[in-house]
Symmetry: C2
């Protein structure tokens, strides 16, 4: 039996308690300052209001004030805050790290560095933890198609656990894997973390197809708009492939669970798709945002966080803008209220198709 | 202006008349023996009963008895029969070929050859046409996400035109491309034709997720089954990638329109998805077939056509069964009424993930 402390009581953090509990581990779920109502509900009756489900009876619940106590003796500390909470999480856990602990990121996101480098979140976390403790712990992350409510319902869910330290992966797999939670392992930390963050803006772009259809004139034969969505899906995957390979990631990551699989699942619903639909209906971004008050759209955050690095690398000749028409268009849509229209002819420009 | 003869008056053949007509070409739509009712309707009032739409007023219609007349002077002959009709089509057009004509395949499918080789349909067609005329014409094909009804509605549709003869591709692109029909060109005939045929069984497999959900016990929080679908989507893409690369195709084909894009669009509905849903609900294949009377499920046909070659190549050590668990399971489901269950743990075995 191991002790797993999950920081962040959102849907994904809470859902992970289900396989962990099935495996007999001690699970400590710690609310962030944003999770007060959730932790209160869990303490009162074990019910998670966002998952709309009873959590395992053995779960222990902590408020963030008791973080030190919750981390004591933990073998694995899961970082499950939202993408805007990583700096808070680093500050909060820093004083309580114990040598040999594994920090397992489920938060998705990217940052741009001062030299226009793209920084993945495990490295952001590392840079903000106190030395020398930060070098006495291990860093890992989870990528792949995993809707939290489905994992909590024990539906078959297939993911990749990734770490630069291959030595810890068998232990992590053994702790978390169940007959419904299938785990592969990889050391391509960069490729996995890029894929899981990039899938959000590209899923948002796929979501535009539904909005474009809704604002089209009625069609006698009720034609849908899947061809439009599929072209964007393919271009999104091509751009993910380009960026991951340019950064030194492994192409296999893109074409399996963390890339294609996670992009697919993210197009099946959720906030990124809803934002895409609003944009596809012809609303400018600033109006669309007002229709989703208080909601974090990770695809939007990712574009804004990533773009300084992308633009810097384009200016330095390290990236080709011809390879990224979808991402660059999304950036204009989000920052300049540009119309949500794609120039399909600019897609696939760097894929080696014969030019006709 | 060019003359384009389309053989097969099904939805895709008929839909292509829309961009061709917009470009001012002479379109001659020829019904196969299965298309008699369609051609009668088109001749009577220009209405296509399966597309549920008026076709362009300039279209000309022919029954298969008038095929010779319809092919006379044609610059391009589109082969739009169903996958079981390619032998018929070869016999029918053989006597009427003219040197320099382009035969453009939109039919999808594969055959197994006597040496356990996988034969793509343009090569099946060539082998069944009379010498020497068969070597005086060009062979090309279309791949990519293209639901016929959406193309006919002039929705944005993005495809790849492919031929081993790069010289004819600019001409084809110019004939067919419109502001809504976006065309890239490629010489990877093998990769494109493998992808467009393989996407059907893999989309059928993704479709199982919906059936599995329907026959699951009700869930308090209404969890869906997208994680299951996404893992199969990713494994399907991995198996397509494996087969295309083993056969000498270009990986770029898989990760753009003909592979990922077409697989995506095929999972959004249609007969392959419906068959998958029935199987996922727990019906054995022979019962599921009875619920879709008279309907050709291309994913089923593709598995049956392909498997002798796959099994022969596995026996010869040319292919690894570990790389193809999804395809091999589908084959058992279809030919042995095996239960439609996948061993997720066998997925991604050859992708280079660290084994834990």
């Amino acid at each position: 039996m191991a002790i797993i402390t999950i920081i962040g009581a959102g849907v994904m953090g809470a859902a992970l308690s289900v396989p962990l509990s099935d495996n007999g581990h001690e699970v400590r779920l710690v609310g962030t300052p944003l999770d007060t109502a959730i932790i209160q509900s869990c303490l009162a009756n074990g019910y998670h209001p966002k998952l709309r489900r009873q959590l395992p009876a053995q779960n222990q619940y902590f408020s963030h004030e008791a973080l030190g106590q919750a981390m004591q003796g933990a073998n694995v500390v899961v970082i499950g805050v939202n993408s805007r909470g990583v700096h808070w999480a680093a500050e909060a856990i820093g004083p309580h790290l114990a040598a040999g602990q594994v920090l397992l990121m489920i938060t998705k996101g990217l940052e741009s560095g001062p030299q226009h480098e793209i920084i993945i979140l495990p490295d952001v976390l590392h840079s903000r933890l106190p030395a020398p403790a930060r070098d006495s712990v291990y860093y890992a992350a989870i990528g792949g198609p995993s809707i939290a409510g489905e994992l909590a319902a024990k539906r078959h869910t297939s993911v990749v656990f990734v770490s630069r330290d291959a030595s810890i992966l068998p232990m992590l797999q053994q702790l978390f894997a169940t007959p419904y939670y299938h785990i592969w392992t990889s050391t391509d930390m960069l490729g996995v973390e890029l894929c899981v963050a990039l899938k959000n803006p590209y899923a948002m772009a796929v979501g535009l197809a539904a909005g474009v259809l809704e604002q089209s004139r009625p069609d006698e034969a009720k034609a849908q708009n899947h061809n439009y969505a599929a072209a964007i899906f393919a271009q999104g995957l091509a751009e993910m492939s380009y960026l991951v390979q340019k950064m030194g990631g492994n192409p296999q990551t893109i074409f399996s669970l963390p890339g294609a699989g996670d992009l697919y699942v993210t197009t099946q619903g959720g906030r990124n798709s809803r934002m895409g639909r609003l944009l596809g209906m012809g609303k400018v971004f600033s109006d669309a945002v007002e229709e989703m008050p208080g909601e974090t759209v990770e695809g939007v955050d990712a574009v804004i966080a990533l773009m300084p690095a992308i633009e810097g690398q384009i200016a330095a000749g390290q990236l080709s803008p011809e390879a990224l028409p979808l991402l660059l268009t999304l950036h204009k849509i989000i920052t300049r209220n540009s119309p949500a229209e794609f120039e399909f002819k600019r897609f696939f420009a760097t894929l080696g198709f014969a030019q006709a």
